[in-house]
Structure formats: C-alpha cells, structure tokens
Amino acid sequence: MEQAIFIANIENTKYVKLQHSRLYFGNEFCEYLIPSLEELRYIIDFIKKNKIAFTFVTPFVTNKGIEVLRPIFEYIIRKYPDTELVVNDWGVFRILRDEFYHSNLVLGRLLTKQIKDPRILSLKNKVSWSMKQYFKETNADTPVFSDFLSVNGIKRIEMDNVLQEINRGGEVLKASLYFPFIYVTTTRLCVTAACETVKNFSRNIPVCGKECRKYTLRLHHYSMPKKLFIKGNTQFYKNDYVLENLKQLHVDRLVYEPEIPM
C-alpha cells in the first residue's frame, strides 16, 4: 500500500515521515490558493532531496485560474516530468491532455462523485438496498466513464474515506483514499474571506486575504452525526477509521492529510 501525504503549504513538509513515498502538494478547491512558482521550486527540491514521488493537485478554476496554472504546468512538466497531476476541472484536464500532452493524470475528488453527507449514517436502516449501494458507489466506476478516463491518460481516481464505506468491484481504475478529512461541499462565495470585518450580506465573491490560512471553524448540529469543519470555502468532516479491505476495493494508495489541505 503506497503511503502518500497531502500538504497545502510548504511549512507542512515537517509532517513528511519515512513511511511516505509520495508527496501531494497543491489545492483542490480554490484558485487563490494555487501555489506560486517559488513554493513549487521549494517542494520539487524537497522531493528530489528526499527521493519521494510527487503529485501536484489542482483546483476547479475560472479562465483567470487557467492562466495562473499554465506557467506552473510548463515549469513542472519541464523540471519533473514524472509528476502526477490531479485534475478537479474538466477544462484543466483538456489543457493537460491537448496542449501539454501529459498523460500521468489523476481524477480528483471533485470529479469523482461520492455522496458524503454524514447523515447517511442516520438513514442506514431506513433505506432500500438500492439506496444503500448507491451511497457506497462512485460514478467514476461505470465502465463507459472508466474507459474514457483510461484512454485519456487518467489511470487513477481519488476517493474519500466516507463513513458509509465503499463498494467497488470488477474492472475499475486504481484508487487513492484520502483520510481523515473528507470534503463535503465547496463554494466560491467564501465565508472565510474577509471574515474579520463585519459583512453586509450579499451573494458576492469576497476579496480574499487568505484568512483560511489563519482560521478553522467547527459546525455542530444535532442532526449531523459528525461535526463539520469549515476551512476557507470548503466544508469537511473527519473520519479516522480506515477500511480494512482496501485491496479488494482496488485502493492501492492512502493519502494522509495531517491538516485540512487548505
């Protein structure tokens, strides 16, 4: 089982241990948190020094975000062509496939759809067999989708260590399992951006001061069996218990998140 570690800022290289053979770096949810070239240089030096593999993680993006990513892709593919690239945006996937001809791609958590509502635990014995199966499966395992991914350079999917367990079988792609922080939802209407000043509420995309790097919030409601965390524009819950039958689930990589990767 490959042991990977996922960090979102360079200070967290402190968490990398001997058992980690791969480092994930980047961001899935926010184009304002795409690392700078300087940070990338630091990370690439780090992985070369420590002789570990590298996975660069990219978010969903607007047209502006695409232009931020282009020079980063040029740099990474030139300096470290073995880099695995996680895509959470079909536009980014298309650029990597058609402009950079990069075929070491991974389907990120945002595009690998899994139902993740913690309240599924409350429904456990009250729903049909079909519904129980549905909650454990992902759309990326359908043969037509899997084939498409495979033919287009995506050989792996990223999954969350959800509470309701996972059901995979047959001819499916290899998968990584992220733990302990499971993402549930995200937004561009970031509630953490500009949170230190009183807000006059409207549906706007606030000016970002990367307040998410300072603050983590916890949400509690009696109907939620797990507390939720907000970091930046994304909500997560925590599940430390990792399934034991990972090999049967075609999961060959664990991606450990020492902190919420924002």
Binding site: I66, E196, F201, I205, L217, S223
Partner: protein, 343 residues
C-alpha cells in the same frame, strides 16, 4: 432572450406557457425509479415527489401542449452522480423522452453524456449547471462530448460570464435567475438534498408558508446549507481578539441564514445578459408553488419586453426592474442578487 420555466404538472405548464415562458423544464420520477429509490436519491436533483412529474403520460401531455404553442420542453436527468446500477433506469427515461418528443435532455454526468453519444441518441443535449462550466476550456470539453447548450453555474461574475459567452458564438448559454440562492456550488455539493426530519412541514407546505410571508420560526430547514449550526473557532494561526472572534462567528452564522432566500433575484442583470448574447434566463425552483412561478414568468416577460422596446442606462433599467418587482410581487426587492457586482 428566452424565458425557461420549471414545471411539476400539466396544469402548471399550461399556466406558465400562457404567462409567457418560451420553454419549460421538468423531471420525471416513474414508478420503476421510486421502487428502487423511494426517497432522497433522484435522477434529476429533486428528490421530493412534488417537484417532479409522476408519469410519462403527463410528460407527453406537456410536450403536446408546448409544441402546440411553439414552445419547448426539456427533460432533466442531471443527477451529478449516476452509478452503473442506475443506467438502465436513466436510459429508460431517455428512450421515453425521445418517444414523447421532448426537445432536449439536461444532463451533467460524463458517463451519461458518453453513453448518449455512443448510442447515437438523437436529442439535443443541454449541459446542466452541474457540469461546473467555470471556464472556456470546460465548455469546449462538453461541446466535444455533444453539448449544444450550456447552463452556466450561478457562482460566476458578470465579466467571467461575458468572456465565456464571447469565446463560443455558436453555443447557446443559459443563466439561472430568481429563487434558490444556495451558497454552495451545486455540482460539488455532496450533501443529500431532500431530507426532511420534521414531518410537520413536508417540502411544499414549508415553501408555501415562506411565500405567504408568515413567520416561519416553527419551520424546520433540513438542507445542510441552511441548518442552524453552533459555530466555534477551533484554531487560528494567531489568537484573534474577542471582538474579532465575535465578528468572525457572526459572519459565518449569517452565511447559513442569509443565503437561503426565496426572493433571490438577478433580473437587474437582464439587459447585460441580452447584450452579451445569453440565449435564455432559466427560472430556478421546480418545487415552488405554481403561483410563484407564474409571477416569476410575468416578471421576466415584462423585463424582456422592456429591453426590446427601449434603450436605457444601467441605473434606469435597475429602477425599472425594481419597480416591476414591486408591482408583480407586492413587496420591495430585498437586494439579494444572484449577480451582485456593482449594483
């Protein structure tokens, strides 16, 4: 610009087409689906039965009615996660839709898109907001998979919408307008929708109570984005002052209350959408009461007619829209806008 309205039944379709809608969109949950997925899991992002047609017969009636008025009908099959087991049921719907003469399918799951293409199904494909078309390359990706129309996500700024539309003169784009101002990105939200933990207030009655502006303190919200959470700050890089902590917590708390607004609007942007070349404004809210939907269509119709008839500045147009809002709904605009920049 066209007005595209949500419908739940034939009577509504008749009223909305009469009010001025150019097209209607709807979902169906047939018995074959309910047998396996009686609740919460939907082929079209609306689990509540009241938000869907009950049968293909009803769909046929709506299609016949719409076509008699030169209007269109789009069937939503826009679940963001379709698993292999669901494919036979989804494609049963696709075959029925083709048979009854539906004008287009609204989809977003890539596996479903690929299968429609592989089977050579000859129906127009509209890419749902669930496709997360936040940039031009994503639009191109879907165009290559067969989409002829893109429904843009609601969390785009006006300049971002303009750039995308400009890049694709041959594709038709729709924007959402009115109602359901959820703060999370639909296609990336993996919470369950349609849970109801309080049987006193099943979906429709709850919405009717809000619409009728009675106090709703007794209502139970069940969507995860609207729950009344206890919020605490659990870590920060440096310890904020008590005052700053209070402000942070209040802002976060407000975000869970403020975004769930029945009268989210955006119609002040209609003139700009028209100038950009947006094809249609899609009214959100399949589960809403008929009376609200009729008012929504009338409101948009008045605004679209005004755009055609007159030239005007931004402020003047905005005033016209707000005055018309008041005439139609009997209350002032709450300034809770889908596209709030600069207003």
């Amino acid at each position: 610009m066209k007005i595209i309205a949500p419908v739940n039944n034939q009577r509504e379709a008749e009223a909305l087409l009469e009010a001025g809608a150019h097209a209607v969109y709807c979902g169906v949950t047939p018995y074959s689906w309910i047998e396996k997925y009686p609740t919460v899991v939907s082929p079209n992002r609306r689990a509540r039965q009241s938000a869907n047609l009950a049968s293909y017969n009803e769909l046929q009636e709506i299609v016949d009615l719409a076509h008699s008025k030169d209007a269109f009908v789009y069937l939503t099959l826009n679940s963001i996660c379709c698993t292999e087991r669901q494919y036979p049921l989804i494609f049963e719907q696709v075959e029925k839709a083709k048979k009854v003469g539906v004008d287009a399918l609204i989809v977003c799951d890539v596996g479903i898109l690929l299968t429609i293409r592989n089977k050579g199904i000859d129906l127009d494909i509209h890419l749902s907001t669930g496709g997360a078309s936040f940039n031009s390359h994503t639009v191109k990706f879907y165009e290559e998979l067969g989409a002829s129309r893109i429904i843009l996500p609601t969390q785009l700024q006006m300049s971002e919408i303009e750039k995308i539309v400009k890049d694709f003169p041959a594709i038709k784009f729709e924007v959402f307008i009115l109602n359901s101002g959820c703060k999370d990105i639909d296609c990336f939200c993996m919470f369950l929708h349609g849970l109801n933990d309080d049987r006193r207030f099943p979906g429709e009655r709850f919405l009717k109570r809000l619409f009728l502006r009675k106090k709703h303190s007794g209502c139970t919200r069940t969507d995860a984005c609207t729950l009344d959470y206890e919020i605490s700050l659990i870590s920060s890089a440096d310890t904020p002052s008590k005052e700053t902590e209070k402000v942070i917590l209040q802002n976060i708390k407000n975000s869970f209350n403020e975004f769930f607004k029945l009268y989210t609007c955006g119609v002040c942007r209609a003139a700009e959408f028209d100038r950009m070349g947006i094809y249609g404004m899609k009214i959100s809210g399949r589960g809403y009461p008929m009376i609200k939907k009729i008012k929504d269509v009338r409101f948009l119709k008045a605004v679209v007619s005004h755009i055609k008839e007159q030239a005007f500045g931004e402020k003047e147009f905005s005033k016209y829209v707000q005055d018309t809002f008041k005439q139609v709904y009997g209350m002032n605009c709450s300034h809770f806008c889908y596209y709030p920049e600069r207003i």
